[in-house]
């Protein structure tokens, strides 16, 4: 462990391509939370994407090249944290599969992957955070993003932290663990099927009557926010990190209002 003079663990923040491009505020919220959890935050500028679009399209050669690049950029940190269950699972669970039997990279990748965590599970499971110092006088509903839920076991952790946000009321939706229909390139390749799936999702979201929709993955959030706005919903949509960090003054995802 290369703990610096500060005595704090060094965290490499893997911002994810969607946060980098579409929602920088999530990156800043994540950085704030990681610092509150007693860590030093570093953002290597050589990061691009975890490689999922190539991986899920069957292009393992490019995926390996991208994975090696991510490992090289991030392996020097004590922890690697991503504000996304999907990218987190890619780095943690799928990268090791890519280098199975590779004499040079298998062990190196394993060491790297062991240090990777999704943001909320890092705060709670690794850093032992049990509450946050944030306030939000609104009712929220929380969508369990598939990868975070089923590949990393994230379900109770965000709810636990949200329950400590002063003024916040959690209104659970029916089937919070049902896919929103994003699925990476699926939503574009099978656009009509994806639209039907997200319509069912927005119906259950709207039925909660909550003021705000939260989730831990930008892909799902952009999909659900885009559909809610197309349907004329006034519901605010945000990444859970923004609420936990108390950073909810900026424009919600896909804008505010109808």
């Amino acid at each position: 462990m290369s703990i610096e003079a500060s005595g704090k663990p060094r965290v490499g923040l893997f911002a994810t391509c969607l946060v980098d491009l579409f929602r920088p505020s999530v990156g800043f919220a994540a950085a704030k939370l990681i610092e509150e959890a007693g860590c030093e935050v570093h953002v290597p500028l050589a990061q691009t994407c975890c490689g999922q679009p190539a991986y899920n399209s069957g292009d393992t050669k490019d995926t390996r090249e991208i994975a090696r690049q991510v490992i090289e950029v991030f392996e020097g940190f004590d922890y690697v944290v991503a504000p996304s269950g999907s990218c987190g699972a890619m780095l943690k669970k799928h990268y090791p599969d890519l280098f199975k039997g590779d004499a040079k990279w298998e062990a190196r990748c394993r060491r790297f992957s062991n240090k990777v965590f999704e943001l909320v599970s890092f705060l709670t499971d690794v850093r032992g955070m049990t509450g946050v110092a944030a306030r939000l006088d609104k009712s929220v509903t929380y969508h369990d993003s598939c990868s975070g839920l089923r590949e990393l076991g994230i379900a109770q952790q965000p709810r636990q932290l949200l329950s400590t946000v002063e003024g916040l009321k959690l209104k659970e939706m029916a089937g919070s663990d049902v896919c929103c229909g994003f699925g990476g390139t699926f939503c574009v390749k099978y656009s009509d099927i994806s639209a039907t799936i997200v319509s069912k999702k927005t119906a259950t979201i709207s039925a909660t009557g909550a003021d705000m929709l939260l989730a831990g993955d930008m892909g799902c959030l952009m999909n659900m926010a885009g559909k809610l706005k197309r349907e004329g919903s006034a519901m605010e949509v945000r990444h859970v990190a923004e609420v936990l960090a108390g950073m909810t003054d900026n424009r919600p995802i896909a804008g505010s209002g109808k």
Binding site: T48, Q69, R150, D192
Partner: protein
Amino acid sequence: MQFTAPQFKQNAARALVDPQLQKALNNVEKGFIAKRAAAAAALPEFDALRDNGRDIKNHTLAHLDLYLEAYEAKVKEAGGQVHWAEGAEDARQIVLDICRRTGARTVTKGKSMITEEINLNEFLEAQGIEPVETDLGEYIIQLRGEHPSHIIAPAVHLNKEQVEEDFRRVHTHLPASRDLTAPETLLAEARQVLRARYFQADIGITGANFLIAETGTSVIVTNEGNGDLTQSLPRVHIVVASIEKIVPTLEDCSQILRVLARSATGQDISVYTTFSTGPRRDEDPDGPEEYHVILLDNGRTAMLGSEFQDMLRCIRCGACMNHCPVYHAVGGHAYGSVYPGPMGAVLTPSLFGVDQSGHLPNASTFCGRCESVCPMRIPLPKMMRHWREREFERHLNPATARYGLGVWAFFAKRPKLYRSLTGIGARMLNMIGGAKGRISSLPLASGWTRHRDLPAPEGKTFTEQWAARQAAGKGA
């Protein structure tokens, strides 16, 4: 059935705008999920049984040749016959030979996906032999000239009004004034009509949920008792089963039975679980005079030792499709093949070639719910991804998608270029999004904006802003 997997997109488009189908699919989504969840919750050792089932199947597949030989010997010992069929055509021919030799005109059938796989009904009809489906769901779709849309609930895509219409159309010997509004009356009528057919049949054909090597036994699970009548009343019983149905012992079979019905319908166990070993013995009060097992390969051995071997653990419970958001949206017929849903997305390319079935493993969000409920713990998304790899290697995916991916990967591997490009992209999209913060139409992203708004970027990228703050010495 007609193989329409290459037209998956067109099939799906039709299904999405079929209000009757959408209503029926809603019932699948609601009913099966809650029932499985309750059954699993009520059994503390449910997950341990899943591990156990996986281990039993893995062991069997590792020694499949030995168990198949042992099974064959036991069937012969019990007075039955085993026929080996490499492909669909071989299996059909073996059935036909038995029909011809015994002079059969009518064949009753228990529900069997494997006979769907080999298109047995169409074949028999063409040979002048009448196949009669005896499972209620199968009977209904046979009247309609359709095929199953679900492996355990073949007519799940229909409602009772449609069934009433079909019964009135076909059962013309019954009074037109009869009341068929309640499901019970429909059931009673089907039962009455089918009763006569059991006695007419010369041969009964069933599938098998399990074949037991230890005893040479075939096992079927049903909820209607039609399977028992199908296999015990006619003079000849033919079991058609694929080779991976084998388990070593009776004990192994009963272990896996504990997760089968719970995963499928949420029942502790199916209403009938019937074990058949050989033909009728002298002291038996009933049973067939001849007992035949047709062991079908049809591509299975090619899966052994490949990255698709785990798929051979499948026990056809249907839990994956019951929990699949894509299945809920388009239904079983859209998949254009015998096996729909996630299990079909893996199995169909194995059986019919990925060049023909490429849509199926691609039409998945990889949400992983199928794997999370699979009683045999089959890593379905992972195997769909393997099919995508095979497609990519063979350049079977569309050129535009390939090209787009190539361009994206080129930049993703060059961080500096990538950063300057995303920096420009973020500003442009932010501008287009304007004060509303969203884009309702973007020609290059029409796949997205046809159905939803595109959230606009906030302005500069995160890495740009972070770098600027670091440079200004402000930190986070």
